[in-house]
Symmetry: C2
Subunit: 136 residues, 2 copies
C-alpha cells in the first residue's frame, strides 16, 4: 500500500465516522439525517424551495416532501413570497430551532474527535482543509 493509498483510506474512515455520528445524532432526536440537514440549512434564514434543492443537491420534489414531514411536526413553516407568489419560502419555527439545537448537542464528533487536537493542530488542520476546498 502506497502512502497516497493510506491517506485515501484515512480520509474514508474519517468521513465514515463523521457520517455515522451525524446520523446517530439526528436519530436520537427523532429525525432522519436528511431532515436534520434541511433544518440546518434554515438556521441562517428562510429559503425558497428551489434554493434549498440546489443547496442540498437534490430535486425540488424531494424538498417538497421533506418539508411536508417537518411541517407536519411543526418544525418548519411555509409561506408564499409576496413579491412573487410562485415562490414559497421555508423558515424554521421556534420548535424547529429547539430540535436543531438538540441535534447539534447530540452530535459528538467535534467534541470526541476534533477535541483531541491541540490549538496549533487545529490551526494546521484548518489551513489544510481550506486549501483542499478553496474554489477554482
Amino acid at each position: 500500500m502506497t502512502a497516497a493509498d493510506a491517506l485515501d483510506q484515512q480520509l474514508w474512515d474519517l468521513v465514515y465516522a463523521y457520517d455515522a455520528a451525524y446520523d446517530r445524532a439526528a436519530r436520537a432526536v427523532g429525525l432522519s439525517a436528511a431532515q436534520a440537514c434541511l433544518l440546518d440549512a434554515l438556521t441562517s434564514g428562510p429559503r425558497a424551495m428551489g434554493e434549498l434543492a440546489a443547496e442540498l443537491l437534490c430535486d425540488a420534489s424531494n424538498v417538497t416532501q421533506l418539508a411536508a414531514r417537518l411541517e407536519g411536526r411543526g418544525l418548519v413553516d411555509r409561506a408564499a413570497d409576496p413579491a412573487d407568489r410562485r415562490v414559497k419560502r421555508l423558515s424554521i419555527t421556534p420548535a424547529g430551532r429547539q430540535v436543531h439545537r438538540a441535534v447539534r448537542s447530540a452530535f459528538d464528533f467535534p467534541a470526541t474527535r476534533l477535541g483531541r487536537l491541540t490549538g496549533p493542530e487545529r490551526q494546521q488542520l484548518a489551513g489544510l482543509v481550506a486549501k483542499m476546498l478553496a474554489p477554482g
Copy 2:
C-alpha cells in the same frame, strides 16, 4: 463565530464534498452509494452477511436486499459456508471487481482535493487524522 465553530463548518463542508463526489462516482457506474460501499467491503475478501451488516452499520435484512440486487446483476456471489451452513458468505465476482474499479476511477475527490496538497502537507494531514481516529 469562534475559531472552533469555523473549523466545525470546514469539516462539514469537507465531508459534504466527499459524500457528493462518492455518490456521483457510484451513479456514473449505475450503482447507488450503498451498493458501491457493499462492493468495496468485499474487495478484501468474502464476508458473512452478519459481518457485512456490522461493517456497514446497518441491519442484516438490509444487507440481504442490497446483496440480492448486486447478485441479480452478477456483481456478487452468495455461498453457504461448509463449516456452518447457517452462514452465507458473500464474495465479489470478476464483473464486480471491474465495476468497483470503475467507481474508484470515477471518484475524483482524491485527485481534485487531496491532490492540491504537497507531500509534507499530506504527511501533516495524515498525522492529524490518525490522532482524531485513534482507538480509545
